[in-house]
C-alpha cells in the first residue's frame, strides 16, 4: 500500500486464526488505521492479497466486504448522530436484508415480519451492551463512553466474523476500560468473533490479546505473544526512539 510514492504499508502480512484476539500496536503514524482501511475496502492495496475464509477481498467495495463479514469501528467515533440509538443498530441489519422495496412501501406481512426480526435482534444487542435505556435517544447526544459502546453494538449488528476495533479504549477511564476488556472477551465468546484491535493503552492490549503485531513506519517489526513482544528490543527502540533517549 503506498500513497503517492510514500509507502504506507510494506510487506504487511497477518493471518488470524478463528476466534483469535489480536492486537495491532505501534507508534503514531505507523499505519495501523491504514490496515483497517485496506481490510474494509476503503483503500485498495497496490500489491498482495486479502482473504476471508478463502474469499478474495481485493477490489471489493466497503459495503460488499461488510456483508461478507468484516465490521469495524472508527478511531474518531462515526455514529449516525441524528438517528436514534436503536436506529443506529438497525442500519447494518438492513444492509443484509433482501426485502424488496415494494413490500416496504405496501407494508406487506413480509415487511412486518422482517421489521419485527430486525427489531428483536437490535433490542437484543442493545440489551447485551446495556444500551437499552438510551434506545430512543439520538446517538449524538450520548456521553462519550456510551458512544464508543454503541459503535461496537452497531458493528456487531452487521454479524461479523472479523471485528476491527480502532482504539476502543481511547478516552475511557481505568474502570471503564477494565469493563470494556471483560466485555470484549465475553462478546468474542458469545458471537464467536475474531477480533483485531488497534490500541495505545498497553495494559489493555497486553491483558486482552493473545498475539500482537507491532507496526512501525508501515513495517511489521514484531509479531508474537504479548510477553515476547514486551521484551523485543526492536519494539522498545521503536517506542522509545532510535537513540533510546526519548
Amino acid at each position: 500500500m503506498s500513497f503517492g510514492g510514500l509507502m504506507a504499508l510494506n510487506n504487511f502480512s497477518l493471518a488470524l486464526a478463528p476466534g483469535e484476539l489480536h492486537g495491532l500496536i505501534g507508534p503514531n503514524g505507523a499505519g495501523k488505521t491504514t490496515v483497517f482501511n485496506v481490510l474494509t475496502g476503503f483503500y485498495q492495496p497496490t500489491e498482495g492479497e486479502m482473504l476471508l475464509n478463502g474469499i478474495r477481498l481485493n477490489g471489493l467495495s466497503p459495503p460488499a466486504i461488510s456483508r461478507l463479514g468484516i465490521a469495524r469501528t472508527f478511531q474518531n467515533i462515526r455514529l449516525f448522530e441524528e438517528l436514534s440509538v436503536l436506529e443506529n443498530v438497525l442500519v447494518p441489519l438492513h444492509g443484509r436484508s433482501r426485502l424488496p422495496v415494494w413490500q416496504a412501501v405496501l407494508r406487506t406481512p413480509g415487511f412486518w415480519r422482517e421489521e419485527r426480526r430486525a427489531r428483536d435482534q437490535a433490542w437484543e444487542l442493545l440489551a447485551r451492551l446495556a444500551l437499552q435505556p438510551y434506545a430512543r435517544e439520538p446517538a449524538g447526544r450520548l456521553p462519550y463512553g456510551l458512544q464508543r459502546r454503541l459503535e461496537i453494538a452497531r458493528a456487531l449488528a452487521a454479524r461479523p466474523q472479523l471485528l476491527l476495533l480502532d482504539e476502543p479504549a481511547a478516552g475511557l477511564n481505568p474502570q471503564e476500560s477494565a469493563a470494556l476488556m471483560s466485555l470484549l472477551s465475553a462478546l468474542q465468546q458469545e458471537y464467536s468473533l475474531t477480533i483485531l484491535l488497534i490500541e495505545h493503552n498497553m495494559k489493555f492490549v497486553m491483558h486482552l490479546c493473545e498475539r500482537l503485531t507491532v507496526l512501525d513506519h508501515g513495517l511489521i517489526i514484531a509479531q508474537d505473544a504479548p510477553a515476547a513482544v514486551r521484551t523485543d528490543p526492536r519494539v522498545i527502540r521503536a517506542y522509545l526512539g532510535a537513540d533510546g533517549s526519548a
Binding site: T33, N37, F42, F74
Partner: protein, 298 residues
C-alpha cells in the same frame, strides 16, 4: 467554413471565453477557501452593470469614475454578502450554506426587479469601448480586443498578488489548511472578506464588459453567464486559478464554434455547457484538473 470565417469566430469565442474566465476566477477563489459554490456570484455581473448605468446615465460621470465607483460598490457588496449570508453558517451543514447562497441570489435578482423593473435598460457604452475596425477582411469590434486584454491584465495582477505577496501567501495557506492558518495568527475573516471583494470586483468587470458587449441590462442578466462560468471553473478543476482561465476560454470558444458550425442548433446553445459538464463529470468525477470531488474522509 473559410479560414477567415473561422478566425472571425475564434475572435468572438476568445472574447466570450475571457468573460467566462473573469467570472470563473471568482467562483474558484471562493470555492478554494470556503468549499462553497457562491450561487450569488453571477448576480454581481448584473449589480455592476446597473451601477454602471447609474454612474454614466444618471450622474453623467466620466466613464473611468463611473466604472471604478461601480466596481468599488460591487466589491463591498460581495463582502457584505459573505458577512450576512455565509459567515453565520460557517459551522453549519454544507447543504444549509448552499441554500443560503441560492436565497441570496434570488434576493439580489428580485430586489433589482422591484426597484428597477423588469424592462431591460440600454447600457450607454462609452465611445472608447465602441466601434470596430477591419483587418484582412475580418470585422473586429474594439471590445473583442479590449475584453481579452483587460482580462489578461487583471489575471496577471491577480497571479502576482497570489504568488508574490504576503497576503497571497496567506490566501494560499488558507485554501490549504484553515485551522493551521488560524493558528499562525492570521486573521481568517479578513482574508475571506478580501477573497469576496476581489472575486466580486472581477465579476463586476465581467458585468460591465458584458453589458457593453450585449447592451441590454435586466435583473436576470447574471444568471446564465454565472452558471456557465461556474461550469468553466469545474472544467478547469475547481480551486485552480489557471484552470478557471483555461476552462473559461475552452467553453467560450466551443460555444461560439458550435453555433457557427451548426446554426440550426443555436437554440440549444445554453444547454451545451451543462451537457459538457455532465460528460466531464461522467468521464472523471474530479473535473479535468481538480481535486477529488467524492473522497472518503477517513
Amino acid at each position: 467554413m473559410t479560414w477567415a470565417g473561422f478566425a472571425q469566430q475564434l475572435i468572438n469565442g476568445i472574447s466570450l471565453g475571457s468573460l467566462y474566465a473573469l467570472v470563473a476566477i471568482g467562483y474558484t477563489m471562493v470555492y478554494g477557501i470556503l468549499r462553497l459554490i457562491n450561487f450569488a456570484h453571477g448576480d454581481f455581473l448584473m449589480v455592476a452593470a446597473y451601477l454602471g448605468i447609474f454612474g454614466l446615465a444618471m450622474f453623467s460621470l466620466p466613464w473611468p469614475v463611473a466604472f471604478l465607483a461601480a466596481l468599488a460598490i460591487t466589491g463591498l457588496l460581495g463582502a457584505l454578502l459573505e458577512r450576512g449570508a455565509y459567515r453565520p453558517l460557517r459551522r453549519a451543514p454544507r447543504l444549509s450554506l448552499l441554500i443560503s447562497a441560492i436565497g441570496a441570489s434570488f434576493l439580489l435578482e428580485n430586489l433589482a426587479l422591484v426597484f428597477l423593473g423588469g424592462r431591460p435598460l440600454p447600457f450607454p457604452t462609452p465611445a472608447v469601448f465602441a466601434g470596430s475596425f477591419q483587418v484582412a477582411g475580418l470585422y473586429i469590434p474594439r471590445l473583442s480586443l479590449l475584453i481579452p486584454g483587460i482580462t489578461l491584465i487583471l489575471l496577471a495582477a491577480l497571479f502576482v498578488l497570489v504568488s508574490h505577496t504576503r497576503t497571497g501567501m496567506a490566501l494560499r495557506a488558507l485554501a490549504h489548511d484553515w485551522e493551521a492558518t488560524a493558528l499562525l495568527g492570521i486573521n481568517v475573516n479578513r482574508l475571506i472578506s478580501l477573497t469576496f471583494i476581489l472575486g466580486s470586483i472581477l465579476a463586476g468587470v465581467g458585468g460591465l464588459l458584458w453589458a457593453m458587449k450585449y447592451p441590454q441590462v435586466n435583473p436576470f442578466l447574471g444568471v446564465l453567464p454565472g452558471l456557465k462560468a461556474f461550469i468553466a471553473a469545474v472544467l478547469g478543476g475547481i480551486g485552480n486559478l489557471a484552470g478557471a482561465v483555461v476552462g473559461g476560454l475552452v467553453l467560450g470558444i466551443l460555444e461560439v464554434l458550435l453555433v457557427a458550425w451548426f446554426p440550426a442548433w443555436s437554440g440549444y446553445r445554453d444547454a451545451f455547457a451543462f451537457v459538457l459538464l455532465i460528460i466531464v463529470l461522467l468521464a472523471s468525477p474530479t473535473g479535468l484538473l481538480g481535486e477529488s470531488i467524492m473522497e472518503d474522509k477517513l
